[in-house]
Symmetry: C2
Subunit: 315 residues, 2 copies
């Protein structure tokens, strides 16, 4: 060994102690699986804070998986005895092909963001819809929202449209650059008697939705600074702008809300509620006091753009 | 949500802060992959202490994989973008079937305990042999060891026999309950001009090796309290008993060394050196000061049964 002295080597290496206590042999892994999860730092911090309730028994880690490796990755979850994975862009729909079990409501939603490995049997769930509705209720603006426009009809958009329809929002417009995707949701949700419309680009300036949701990746990562909202008139009667992205905290889309004087909510609180719901399903109920304290850590609070007050005590 | 107040909920939840800082989105995973890794708590603690040198950039986690899932697990390492895995019982030999690249010395050894994923290409290494020799040198007894008896001719036994032969030990006896395994090593190492003998059970009481190594799982887990050494005469001229197991710290085998007044070393220091060697290969050189400090943490020190002095400054 040829190592030499390290300049600035600490007399009492605190980092050593901290890292040494994160994992033990019996620690079960949960994770976030997506093609590019670099924007999701806070999800790891928050999930691990929640999971620390069961000291060192669970840990939440990143899994970067490109589309062509998805099937091997799912076999890997089973083979490597990973307990659960949240699933994000672009796998939420494709993953349904590789799961063993799903309840009817998840199957109808057509999108999965949580896989739970129960002794080798892989179950699919959608906690995006739950987390979104929890966060929406927490804004205190729910009563004002009788119509919604959702940008993006991928996995997240599907889940949100289904949840809003179930919550009784009377009119939902869907817009996606791949028009077939919004039409697919339109035809599915119309069976439930909800008025869901897939809209074309030229329709957008004429809509006046109460709620506008960005469920696209526009605004984060390589598309930072980009917003799906091209004509500000679309937002002029809105009561709430909701961006599922949370990094950066105030996207171009949410800055547009500010310009219009409309309350804005980024995706951080939704991610937090979604994380709690996922852990409730995959592991056990996270006590609400624990959840609330994690929600109020400085790290989380400083990234929230709360539409209403400070983090709400109840969803 | 139906959660209620938690009794004893801490005013300042320290665990929350600690766990929240273990992982971020860009953290790369290394792991230990084996059928039963419950005995390996200290490996997680030690590896994560070493990896904390690169703050939150790497994390060492457990992967429990039964034999029939090994191939899917290896595909999973690639698909889930896991950076590296140490490999332990019973996969060290079988895993060689699923790797892409191996250097000649590893191939000759016939055993792999480290897989490194370099952009989808899986490389195999053996750091058991390096860690074992590092630990052996650290005892200060190396000059007294002219002959060795190794119990167990599985993955670890193969690596150790190869390393001892390369180090010039003139006589090596191998014993395994599956006799064919020791014969396989005998014929391979004999090509190198070393005197290696596969021995039968009835030979054991007549041998007088200077070094006796337990490279079987006897002594840990479900086989705690069991020793491979049945006749104490075999150990009466020994200069060192070396048990690759380290949990419990003083196995039945090492207690027998005590009875005979022979110095004893458990596998903890070897695991530590092996961990450093693995990280050196998979990530980058761990500075020796950092290694030495981790080696001297109370958690590690109290599980060592050092044959020589306190943890040595140089291997």
């Amino acid at each position: 060994m040829t190592d030499t002295k390290v300049a600035g080597f600490p007399a009492k290496p605190l980092v050593l102690d901290r890292m040494g206590t994160c994992v033990r042999a019996g620690t079960r892994l949960l994770g976030l699986l997506g093609a590019d999860i670099r924007h999701a730092d806070l999800a790891f911090s928050f999930n691990n804070q929640l999971l620390s309730y069961w000291e060192r028994k669970y840990l939440y880690v990143p899994y970067s998986v490109p589309a062509e490796e998805l099937e091997n990755a799912i076999q890997g979850i089973r083979a490597l005895d990973i307990l659960a994975c949240n699933v994000t862009f672009p796998h939420k729909v494709a993953i349904m092909n590789y799961l063993d079990e799903m309840d009817d409501s998840t199957r109808r939603m057509g999108s999965v963001n949580l896989v739970v490995n129960r002794e080798g049997v892989l179950w699919g769930y959608n906690t995006d819809s739950m987390g979104f509705m929890d966060a929406l209720h927490a804004t205190g603006l729910m009563d004002d929202l009788d119509s919604a426009l959702i940008y993006g009809a991928g996995g997240a958009g599907r889940a949100l449209a289904t949840a809003l329809a179930a919550a009784g929002i009377s009119k939902i417009w869907l817009y996606d650059i791949v028009e077939a995707r919004s039409h697919a949701i339109e035809s599915r949700l119309s069976h439930n008697g909800c008025r869901v419309c897939a809209v074309a680009p030229e329709d957008l300036p004429h809509l006046r939705p109460a709620l506008i949701v960005n469920a696209t990746p526009l605004g984060r990562g390589e598309q930072a600074g980009v917003s799906p909202l091209e004509d500000l008139r679309t937002g002029q009667d809105a009561r709430l702008f909701f961006d599922l992205n949370y990094n950066p905290a105030r996207s171009r889309f949410l800055q547009q809300a500010g310009t219009l004087g409309v309350p804005a909510e980024n995706g951080l609180r939704m991610m937090c509620y979604q994380a709690k719901r996922s852990i409730d399903i995959a592991v056990d109920q996270v006590p609400f006091d624990w959840f609330y304290t994690a929600l109020r850590t400085k790290e989380i609070e400083q990234h929230m753009v709360a539409a209403g007050s400070a983090p709400a005590a109840t969803p």
